[in-house]
């Protein structure tokens, strides 16, 4: 017992004990690994600790992790970069060296920029109003029949937190495949991948809480496979 305590208090024991987590995750170099092997063979305390750490490591490995689709998040990052670039101008680009300017030149440039922006916004606003009066609405609904990808039968929007696995399961169940998307609004164009009717596929899609929206893009013609 006293020899065990002596061993537990030795610098060698403390040093080896502190390496055990990295022995477990297999990132020690060969020399350190051999030192741990030799010490653990003779030290009951470290053997027990090694067993505990292995269980924790395996337990953490076994905990399920979710997969998220990065496309929508990337679009939000791009919007942030655009905003930041619009606010600060070219110097935000990492390659650009900071432009040395006297303060009044900066203020003048900012004033000119603001004036140009105001004129631009006013002109754009007038143009939009003119267009609205003269033309069809410029917005598109998700079920709009224009610019429809080939084979598209359904347009759908999924929850932003849906995982790839869940999405694939839902599509497999509804026997659909993605032919286009997601758009900026997160809309996917889906085509039938089997002889299942569009109506049946729609019903299967709408059962899932992760499906925020699902509509057919072609008018319903018959009870058959109306694609």
């Amino acid at each position: 017992m006293s020899s065990k305590r002596q061993s537990e208090n030795s610098p060698e024991h403390h040093e080896i004990s502190s390496l055990i987590p990295w022995y477990v995750n297999d990132t020690l170099d060969d020399h350190e690994r051999q030192r741990v092997d030799v010490h653990v063979a003779a030290c009951a305390v470290c053997r027990e600790d090694l067993a505990v750490q292995n269980r924790i490591f395996e337990g953490m490995e076994a905990q399920p992790a979710l997969d998220y689709m990065p496309a929508a998040s990337l679009k939000r990052l791009q919007a942030r970069l655009d905003d930041a670039q619009a606010q600060s101008g070219p110097p935000l680009a990492p390659s650009s060296d900071p432009i040395r300017q006297t303060p009044w030149r900066g203020w003048m440039a900012a004033s000119i920029g603001a004036l140009a922006l105001a004129v631009g916004v006013l002109a754009a606003d007038r143009w939009v109003q003119f267009e609205a009066r003269m033309k069809q609405p410029t917005y598109r609904t998700v079920t709009s029949s224009t610019a429809r990808p080939q084979g598209e039968a359904i347009r759908a929007v999924f929850s932003p937190t849906i995982t790839l696995v869940e999405l694939q399961q839902i599509l497999d169940e509804a026997q659909l495949k993605i032919v286009s998307g997601p758009t900026e609004a997160g809309v996917y164009s889906l085509a039938s991948s089997s002889s299942l009717t569009v109506r049946s596929s729609l019903e299967l899609l709408r059962r899932h809480s992760s499906v925020r929206f699902a509509e057919r893009t072609l008018p319903e013609t018959d009870s058959g496979n109306s694609r």
């Binding site: 995750n25 027990e48 505990v52 924790i56 337990g59 076994a62 997969d67 942030r80 937190t161």
Partner: protein, 194 residues
């Protein structure tokens, strides 16, 4: 930016970051897509809300975009990016902790249920991990979930190796207290360490 397929991941990351430093947005997107899954899986162990995860990842890549030109290749690109994510996450979790009130392992009763089954062990492990101080838990997750070496964790957390070892030591001790059956104590008898 398209890189030859034969490049190793380290070379590829390094080339992409070089392109990001010269203002290539496409390179940033490639880097983002190649790291998103790894970072999201890591962060999802701390917060169930994807909005929080996305905010941390996007904040991380804003820093990558703005500071790529300052990267001096003293470490691997992956260590640098994960280090930025670590500090961004740490700030976010500290804000949440201040908002929600601090919860440490000591605030909770010791385990009195016998985790005989693996599922229960996983459940208790999840609870035990969630009650560790955030720096200790991040250290444990970086080692056991992300598989980083001692030196890599020291670089990611910008701490001396001795600090990383100390954090890991305290995390291990607290988990042993919280999970007595993992250390071989009889069920229902918490193995409090003096």
């Amino acid at each position: 930016m398209t890189l030859p397929a034969k490049n190793s991941p380290k070379e590829r990351d390094s080339a992409l970051l070089g392109a990001v430093a010269s203002g290539d947005r496409r390179a940033l997107e490639e880097l983002y897509l190649s790291y998103h899954r790894r970072l999201a899986r890591f962060l999802s162990r701390f917060t169930p809300r994807y909005e929080n995860i996305e905010e941390i990842i996007n904040d991380t890549f804003m820093v990558v975009w703005q500071n790529a030109k300052n990267f001096r290749h003293a470490s691997q690109v992956s260590t640098w990016i994960i280090g930025i994510a670590y500090r961004t996450a740490l700030k976010s979790f500290r804000r949440q902790k201040n908002h929600n009130g601090e919860q440490n392992l000591e605030d909770y009763p010791v385990q009195t249920v016998d985790p005989t089954f693996d599922a229960e062990v996983h459940d208790w492990l999840k609870h035990g991990l969630s009650r560790l101080p955030i720096e200790q838990r991040l250290t444990l997750e970086l080692a056991y979930h992300m598989g980083h070496s001692l030196e890599e964790i020291a670089a990611i957390t910008e701490c001396p190796v001795g600090t990383v070892k100390a954090r890991m030591f305290h995390a291990r001790e607290k988990l042993r207290q919280y999970l007595p059956t993992l250390s071989g104590a009889p069920p229902g008898v918490p193995s409090r360490i003096e």
